[in-house]
């Protein structure tokens, strides 16, 4: 007789996610625009008629909701056959930790952050979503490693960077890591957050957009930005 413990969330997460297109939006550094790009890519894919779920996996500093105009202190998450994503439009859903913490500070150590993300993905009602876009924490951390173990064999991994030397140095290491982890489906996005003016060769480029800040919080205004236009081209490549 043998006794061992198992996490009941893994099998369900793997099964549900292997049936859908999963996009991990990652980056070696913070502040490179991972969250902005997650949101804009979700909008662009929904405009192409796809049903998209935005997952905020940056559980210790969730802010995807700021971009899409969700006030986590006001929404009340539902549940029926599972945790129900908030529906922004009939083709965009959102799920994250912020609605459950009422946007209060929530320090989580690495293994605890992994637990929180597994809980969201493990108990979710995936009903009808074709694209699952997961916005990840900055850099290499427990949550990112866990998400790669769970989905890295089929997910598209978007690696966001800026043209700065600081970011490019980090990105070189990050790309080498993805290779060690046998992640093959990788797209580089160079996003000029700082306004350096350089762009990358083998990558999608997103220009510096001085009007983005004013558009945050409104899906309508976001769709009129230059940054969105650049991401529309990324969406075309992702969803041909």
């Amino acid at each position: 007789m043998k006794i061992y413990e198992k996490d009941p969330r893994i099998s369900r997460i793997k099964r549900e996610l292997s049936d859908r297109r999963v996009i991990l939006v990652t980056g070696a550094k913070g502040g490179v625009g991972k969250t902005v790009i997650s949101a804009l890519l979700g909008l662009a894919l929904s405009e192409r008629g796809k049903k998209v779920l935005l997952v905020d996996a940056d559980v210790t500093d969730p802010n995807l909701h700021v971009i899409i105009g969700v006030d986590p202190e006001k929404v009340k998450p539902g549940e029926a056959k599972g945790i129900e994503p908030l529906t922004l439009t009939d083709r965009i859903g959102y799920i994250g930790l912020a609605p459950y913490t009422m946007n209060r500070p929530t320090p989580l150590r690495g293994p605890e952050a992994v637990d929180a993300v597994r809980e969201l993905l493990g108990a979710l009602d995936y009903n009808g979503y074709e694209y699952i876009i997961i916005d990840t924490p900055p850099g290499l951390d427990d949550v990112l490693m866990d998400l790669i173990h769970l989905t890295g064999d089929h997910a598209l991994v978007i690696v966001v960077s800026t043209p700065s030397r600081m970011s490019q140095d980090s990105t070189r290491r990050f790309m080498a890591l993805l290779k060690d982890l046998n992640v093959e489906n990788v797209v580089n996005v160079v996003n000029d957050v700082i306004g350096i003016g350089r762009s990358g060769r083998d990558s999608f480029n997103v220009p510096h957009d001085a009007l983005l800040e004013e558009a945050l919080g409104s899906i309508k205004r976001l769709k009129n930005t230059e940054a969105y236009n650049a991401i529309v081209r990324l969406a075309e490549a992702v969803d041909p």
Binding site: M1, R15, P99, Y100, T101, L108, R109, G122
Partner: protein, 127 residues
């Protein structure tokens, strides 16, 4: 309540393990933070496992939540913390949300361990 998804997750995990070993018994441990309706869960899970794993015995056990402060070392329980209905509800979805509402009674730190009683754990007994 989202017991259906939790039952499905457990059933999928039992199924996945059945492919690898002869399971005699599965102990389902339910942490206090997740506040699962045991009767509802049982009903769904029995229904789901009836065909998949008719010979596996399922036991249920509940586990009290116990916290330990990482700053000052103090240990306390959920019963020592006064939470509103709304806060309990939020925590039952994602137990980690407890750190938004509970702080160490001694030093106010939200950086504490959940020693026991978080969420669902499965203990397999195989031949």
């Amino acid at each position: 309540m989202h017991e259906w998804a939790i039952a499905e997750a457990i059933s999928r995990e039992v199924e996945a393990n059945l492919e690898k070993a002869r399971i005699r018994r599965v102990k389902v441990i339910l942490g206090e933070l997740q506040n699962i309706d045991l009767d509802v869960l049982k009903q769904y899970l029995e229904m789901m496992l009836r065909d998949v794993a008719p010979n596996v015995e399922i036991d249920y056990e509940t586990e009290e939540a116990v916290f330990k402060c990482r700053r000052c070392g103090y240990t306390w329980t959920l019963a020592d913390s006064s939470l509103s209905e709304e806060e309990r509800e939020a925590i039952h979805f994602v137990p980690e949300a407890v750190r938004a509402y509970v702080k160490c009674p001694k030093c106010s730190s939200p950086d504490f361990e959940v020693l026991r009683g978080r969420g669902v754990r499965l203990i397999f007994e195989v031949e």
